[in-house]
């Protein structure tokens, strides 16, 4: 990541008349356009797309790629995002035409292998969650939340309890939880956290009631802490007639160790792009399957794959909420997650979580003397520090994050969860070698030292990145969101 030169926009490389791709010659008799489509439908001006050669396209994107960090480039301890290694063999097997070149409406008889894969993955996810049935349709975690909440809503309505319109959400929750609740028309009731970082059980008791639709929980939560009172919590919510929703973004801590179903959860979403190592792609695609209990299974969005004899068929559950997305979901992403589960097996998955948790605890203990640790107990696969001590030296968590970029690391997640001031959320994952963890720890310690001695090194960071700190205020005040026509 050396280059300091600005890479031009591809439109700025455009030269009239240049071509990057050739189609086969048209092999049917050409009919004048105006005879096929009436004038009033036709463009008068062609769209101004770039005119570049294939080499220029390759160079352009190669140059851009060199300005970007990725798991392949270096450590990426972005908390809550599980930036683990993405095995390359998954890219190979899922680009086989037997998967990549299937039309979604082919007759079922011609896609039995794809359906078998979907069926198996659905089963595996149900096993891992300790629940009954799975739909693979949701496109990402947030979409899974939407699906799960709609299922909960439909379940209550089916039981004549449509008045249940309150969703309880801890103040430590991810923003998608309240946002998804609002999208299904629920009122969000915020539940405070206690001083061990978990749900404040006494407060919860007061907040549940006849209108409680359910509780959304991440466990381990966004502080990376397992909620020890989980069984009490689920009892309280169930007793009030509500259901429990498990935000599976943090499932990397629990594979083969404890199942959400056994904790009392009724719905679970997975982020296949986190726990099951499908590449994050610069922001997506993800995939957010949900598994649900037996009572909720009839409400799942359809279609889902079922097995009849030795044949796989698409079916829609009896009281299905309907359809949440075109076709069946992100099939090529499922295929990678399926490969991941198969290449780990039950023991391997458990080892994934054990190692992820060991790594996080090791790092936490080696950093807690230089960064404030708000809750001092074993963490799970990630932990949250606070830059409060550094703030007193005039250095904010943003500055620490930016300085880490100079060391060649991606920064941790910062300013989340909202309940920790100056939060720094670190998730090392299981795939990093110990030497990387140690180097990162040393960098964090060096930065803490710098904060004391040369705070301006931090407040003016980053210094060694392709661009220096960018003016976000300017971008938001006078938004420039597309290139101007040349």
């Amino acid at each position: 990541m050396a280059t300091k030169k600005v890479v031009p926009l591809i439109i700025e490389r455009s030269t009239p008349g240049r071509r990057g791709y050739r189609l086969p010659e048209l092999d049917v008799p050409e009919i004048p356009l105006s005879q096929l489509i009436p004038e009033e439908h036709l463009r008068t001006e062609p769209a101004e797309l770039p005119e570049v050669s294939e080499l220029e396209v390759v160079r352009h994107y190669t140059q851009l790629s060199r300005l970007n960090h990725g798991v392949d480039v270096g450590f990426y301890p972005l908390g809550s995002c599980t930036m683990k290694y993405n095995p390359r063999v998954h890219e190979d097997v899922t680009s086989l035409p037997g998967f990549a070149a299937l039309h979604p409406y082919q007759p079922e008889s011609s896609v039995q292998g794809a359906m078998e894969l979907m069926f198996n993955l659905s089963e595996y996810l149900a096993v891992i969650s300790g629940l009954e049935a799975t739909t693979l349709q949701p496109a990402a975690g947030a979409h899974g939340e939407l699906a799960g909440l709609m299922v909960i809503k439909a379940f209550h309505a089916h039981n004549g309890e449509s008045h249940r319109n309150e969703m309880l959400i801890p103040d430590s929750a991810h923003g998608t939880n309240p946002a998804s609740s609002a999208m299904v028309g629920y009122k969000v009731i915020e539940v405070p956290s206690d001083d061990r970082g978990g749900v404040d059980v006494e407060a919860l008791k007061k907040l549940v009631g006849p209108n409680t639709a359910g509780l959304m929980l991440t466990n381990p939560n966004t502080l990376g802490l397992f909620d020890e009172n989980i069984c009490t919590i689920s009892q309280i919510v169930h007793d009030a007639g509500g259901l429990l929703y498990y935000d599976g973004a943090n499932a990397n801590a629990i594979l083969g160790i404890v199942r959400p179903g056994d904790m009392g959860f009724d719905v679970v979403h997975y982020n296949l792009h986190k726990t099951f190592s499908t590449p994050h792609g610069g922001g997506g695609p993800g995939s957010g399957p949900i598994s649900v209990s037996k009572e909720l299974a009839p409400f799942l969005p359809g279609p889902i794959v079922q097995k009849e004899g030795d044949k796989y068929v698409f079916a829609t559950p009896e009281h299905s909420i309907g359809r949440l997305k075109s076709f069946y979901g992100h099939f090529l992403v499922f295929a990678k997650a399926y490969a991941y589960i198969l290449s780990h097996g039950p023991k391997g998955l458990r080892e994934v979580s054990e190692t992820a948790v060991l790594h996080a605890n090791y790092m936490m203990r080696r950093l807690q003397d230089v960064y404030y640790l708000p809750v001092d107990r074993h963490c799970k696969h990630e932990f949250v520090l606070s830059g409060m001590w550094q703030r007193d030296m005039g250095v904010r968590t943003t500055d620490i994050a930016k300085r880490l970029l100079d060391y060649g690391y991606h920064a941790p997640t910062v300013y989340f969860p909202l309940i920790v001031d100056e939060a720094i959320m670190i998730e090392p994952t299981e795939t990093e070698p110990k030497s990387t963890l140690d180097e990162f720890i040393e960098a964090m310690r060096a930065i803490a030292q710098e904060a004391k001695e040369y705070p301006e090194n931090l407040t003016s960071a980053p210094h060694h990145t392709p661009v220096t700190r960018l003016d976000e205020s300017r971008a938001a005040r006078q938004p420039i969101l597309r290139w101007q026509k040349p």
């Binding site: 300013y415 976000e472 205020s473 938001a476 005040r477």
Partner: protein, 125 residues
């Protein structure tokens, strides 16, 4: 009526002139928000209820709802803010004002704090 500045607990300020109440956000509030990048103001003629969120002030990473300190009709909005939201940072008590609300009769400002009271209030935040 005097034109002295009064504050709400939500860190807004008001200046009352007859039945017109000018509203803005305090220096403390703009400082907490950081660089203001966008202000969403109500339409002229909108009627607002005391305590109702009627405008939004945004920085890059935070959003602040502005609650009506009095009930009444929006009669003037600070149009300069559309192109120059940074006025709220540069001049929160003057050029960065938000709207003027016309109240029925006399504005009820009994609950509001004067400068000294507000400063004492800030110490407790």
């Amino acid at each position: 009526m005097s034109e002295k500045i009064l504050y709400t607990k939500e860190h807004e300020w008001v200046v009352v002139k007859d039945n017109i109440v000018r509203v803005g956000i305090s220096d403390y509030a703009q400082n907490e928000l950081g660089d203001v990048v966008f202000v969403d103001l109500p339409e002229l003629g909108d009627v607002v209820e005391e305590g109702e969120g009627f405008a939004v002030v945004e920085s890059v990473k935070a959003v602040s709802d502005i609650y009506a300190p009095v009930s009444g009709e929006i009669v003037t909005i600070n149009e300069e803010l559309e192109d120059s939201p940074e006025l709220i940072n540069e001049s929160p008590l003057d050029r960065g004002w938000l709207v003027e609300i016309k109240v029925d009769g006399v504005a009820q400002t009994g609950d509001l704090m004067n400068q000294q009271e507000y400063e004492a209030f800030l110490k407790g935040v």
